[in-house]
Amino acid sequence: MGVGTFFTSKLDEAIGWARKYSIFQYPFVTACCGMEYMATACSHYDVDRFGAGLPRFSPRQADVLFVVGTISHKMAPVLKRIYEQMCEPKWVVAFGVCTCTGGFYDNYATVQGIDTIIPVDVYIPGCPPRPESVIDGLMKLQDKIAVGTQRY
């Protein structure tokens, strides 16, 4: 910017803009959806274009929890603890129909939707979802991150 020009914004919007392009994700990969997650993350679809290119494998360093794949009742307490270990602000993406509703695993072993144990911000249905759906979900999450009051 040259001398004498200036730029105004609301602090919330500026922080929201910064946050939505620096998504540090924690991929909680338990099942076949993981393959589609990898396809999305790799160079062909390249989620790095949306600022979500750096997976962190510690929940303490992550902003977004990607729950990718079927969650069994035995895994549920692990997922819940992972979620509780993440620092605010944090978001959760349910990746694939198993995490959204349990999918076709309507049986004794499977959690019928991870929203029964943790809050979910974006649901990406599909078995598995195509990378385009994942990117669509990611952009919806970015919109959700950008608007609204930012806590800081």
Binding site: H73, K74, P77, K80, D106
Partner: protein
Amino acid sequence: MDGSAILARLRERLGDRLLATHEYRGDHTAVVSREGLVAALTLCRDDAALAFDMLVDVTAVDYLRFPGREDGPRFEVVYHLYSVGNNHRVRLKVPVEQDDPVVPTACGLWPIANWLEREVWDMFGIRFDGHPDLRRLLMYEEFEGHPLRKDYPINRRQPLIGPKV
């Protein structure tokens, strides 16, 4: 040995502890009484001609409401044996009544029976007498019921377990 010879040898050694034998598409099966199970398994493992040194699988079948088997014992525990040296197989079955679902353990013969029997206990609720550590294997300990029993409702919901504090 081929399968019929294995069954003939079992029949010769076990006598009336062997309840029946049959074969289907090359799979040979011996039905053993519960009292004769340990003797049959020991014979299979230690007999020089049989030498079944590998317990491939222990599982069970619930014949509740199975067409044609309404009157018989509800469960069958199934043992699949394989001999690495002789490259032959056999299957042993033990009928188990619903009122008394107990079978002697095979842990002393093949150590792998420990986990396989825990799985059968977990899924079918059949106990193994003499097992050193009969806990659930796949489901968590708060789980109620045995999900592979035919009278377990398919859509039954269990209470969710939370992290232990």
